[in-house]
């Protein structure tokens, strides 16, 4: 049920950016997992795998701070996240199963809202939209975009946020092969720039990056 990843004491150096210690999460009365530990340095990816209902999403939500931990804590840059929510929020961006856009608004209006929450300006996001092949779609209401296109909108959010930690829950769902490759490409770039990614996925990932994995039952 749990896997301690850093057995090598030397590896636990000051470059450890994100860590979870003694994590336990309850769903109702059921304990999904306990005693879970992990630590990630910059440029690394944590892959959380397991069958449906095993707690992948709950673990990710706990790391984000959306879901409470029964025991244990998450640290970011050495500081427990519950002690300094503000700076952690600035450094993290969350990509959930629900894309989190308003169906009534256009993609552009949705992303403009995102820039208000983060730091980008509308001019800066043009290049991002180009990259994600969304430039032609910005004026359309979200409800008329396909699921794959909406997912790419969520990817746009991640690039706009300029956040260090990417939390992604099933990022490949609803994407075609092209979209799949795009996600891989973006993640690889992100990690190469010393970002960190925690991902929940069903399938194995073919990616040439330092990767750790957790298997939940």
């Amino acid at each position: 049920m749990h896997l301690s990843l850093y057995t090598d004491a030397d590896a636990k150096t000051l470059t450890e950016l994100l860590s979870g210690t003694n994590l336990c999460v309850l769903r109702g009365e059921r304990c999904l997992f306990k005693g879970l530990n992990f630590a990630l340095s910059s440029g690394e990816l944590l892959l959380v795998q397991g069958p449906n209902g095993s707690g992948k999403t709950s673990l990710l939500r706990s790391i984000a701070g959306l879901f409470g931990l029964e025991t244990g804590y998450i640290s970011w840059r050495g500081v427990p996240t519950k002690n300094d929510r503000q700076s952690f929020s600035a450094d993290v961006v969350w990509m959930a199963h629900h894309v989190g856009f308003k169906a009534d608004l256009t993609l552009l209006e949705n992303l403009r809202f995102e820039t208000g929450l983060r730091s980008a300006t509308l001019e800066e996001i043009e290049s991002i939209l180009e990259r994600l092949s969304l430039s032609q779609l910005v004026e359309l209401p979200m409800r008329s975009l396909s699921a794959g296109q909406q997912k790419r909108g969520a990817l746009a959010r991640m690039l706009i946020s300029d956040a260090r930690l990417w939390l992604m829950d099933e990022p490949f769902a609803n994407l075609d092969v092209g979209g799949h490759d795009l996600v891989i490409e973006l993640i690889a770039e992100h990690l190469a720039e010393n970002g960190i990614c925690v991902m929940a996925a069903h399938q194995d990932l073919e990616l040439e990056v330092p990767m750790h994995s957790i298997q939940l039952q």
């Binding site: 959306l66 879901f67 993290v92 209006e109 208000g116």
Partner: protein
């Protein structure tokens, strides 16, 4: 350690963004604005129909009827304050944003008032006219309704945050908010009656203003706490 300069824009920028977003949403769905307004007008009409057309009776009960109608119309519009955000996953993003959650909650309450409370205030003189309320009291009516509906938007957002995602959350929301809204109702309606009778209204106005300030200071914090709990 390159590249990531996740600067957070200023608070004012964040507040403006969420107000703009919600106003845009209301613009695209005019029903959200108009329904509570029609409800307000119709409930106000129910009373003369039910109680009788005597002008003196209407003039006396006018302030109370208008205030109750305003309260009910506001409750009606509060139900959906956080509902769509909860359902489409925007609430996750709002809670996780680097902008302080109470600030964003305040922004949502502000846009809620602009969309549901302000129209009531603007329309109230027309309804007051049908109740033969003296002209002297109409100004006080608008002022008390303005202060009152602001307080209700703030207080109500706490209830909306607590009940978002629950089955039959609507009825529960009313049950939670109505007792808390009594002071606003009491002072609002009675002050307008006093104005109609020519008595001093300062006490009532000061109370409503003070309550508004209190709500402004604390309601966003309580709403933020409630949102985090409900969204788990």
């Amino acid at each position: 350690m390159t590249g990531f300069e996740a600067k957070v824009p200023g608070l004012w920028h964040g507040l403006k963004s969420i107000i703009r977003r919600d106003l845009l949403l209301a613009w695209k769905r005019p029903g959200d604005v108009l329904n509570p307004l029609f409800f307000f007008a119709m409930v106000s009409t129910l009373f003369p129909l039910a109680v009788g057309p005597s002008a003196e009776q209407l003039a006396v009960s006018g302030p109370g009827v208008l205030w109750v109608a305003a309260l009910l119309a506001t409750l009606l519009s509060l139900n959906s304050l956080y509902l769509s955000d909860f359902e489409d996953g925007s609430l996750d993003q709002i809670i996780l944003s680097p902008q302080p959650l109470p600030l964003l909650a305040l922004g949502k309450s502000v846009s809620h008032w602009l969309v549901s409370g302000l129209p009531l205030v603007i329309v109230s003189p027309l309804i007051a006219m049908t109740f033969s309320m003296p002209a002297a009291s109409v100004g006080v009516l608008m002022l008390t309704l303005a202060l009152g509906t602001i307080s209700l938007s703030l207080l109500g957002s706490i209830g909306a945050a607590l009940t978002v995602g629950l089955n039959r959350g609507n009825a529960l929301l009313s049950l939670l908010i109505l007792p808390l809204a009594m002071p606003v109702l009491i002072f609002g309606a009675r002050t307008v009656s006093l104005a109609a009778a020519g008595d001093a209204v300062a006490a009532g106005i000061y109370f409503l203003a003070a309550y508004c300030m209190l709500a402004l200071s604390f309601a966003p914090l309580a709403t933020a706490a409630a949102l985090k709990i409900s969204n788990e």
